[in-house]
Amino acid sequence: MAETRLLPEAPGVIYFPEGVPGFESLREFVLLQEQDLLPLVFLVSPVEPRICLPVVPIQKISPDYDVRLGDEDRAVLGLAGGEHPKILCLAVVSLGDGSQPATANLLAPIVINLKNWTARQVVQADSSYPVAAEV
């Protein structure tokens, strides 16, 4: 099955009101999808193009993944309470090298509200999801 586009195309930038942990000064990212690299996609900073964060839709890795959003998460993402959110959930992937396998961060997925393309890395505080799940 040939996938040309794994994810909906973001209209311009994805906005992280708080920045991305580790790169707090970077608030805007674009989603880069290249067919020969799927299912890996990349969040790339337009102002700091040497910061490319490999991510993968979390369902690809963990089909039953159940992301929990707290009140604060919803507030940052601009999601109204009770509304069934149209969101995209991405896991940050640490690419392995010869000696180390790739891992995905299931503890803190990046959640994007597809209505306003606002995003937050959401820690699943009381879950047992690992920060480095081998993939």
């Binding site: 009101p17 580790g22 790169f23 299912p39 490319c52 690419l95 392995g96 993939v135």
Partner: protein, 83 residues
């Protein structure tokens, strides 16, 4: 590094508007509450560290192509197991 002791239920301030409360101490774990304005990001240090570790400087980084291929293989294996 400033080092000081707090008891359960006590708190301290970082700057004027960030308060850190020690909510509970038990069996080697500390439960912490942070009261801060929304624009102050609060992250576990391992999340920041994992992101910095994961970031690559370019999609031309050889790890990217290899990593994408390895990921596809791993996911294919899972799908095979699943069916």
């Amino acid at each position: 590094m400033l080092v000081f002791r707090r008891q359960q239920g006590e708190s301290f301030l970082v700057g004027d508007n960030v308060e850190v409360r020690i909510l509970e101490i038990s069996r080697g774990q500390v439960k912490i509450g942070v009261v801060a304005p929304r624009e102050v990001g609060i992250y576990r240090s391992e999340i920041s560290r994992m992101n910095r570790q994961a970031a690559v400087a370019s999609l031309e980084d050889p790890r990217v192509k290899e990593g994408a291929a390895a990921l596809r293989r791993a996911l294919d294996r899972r799908e095979d197991r699943g069916t």
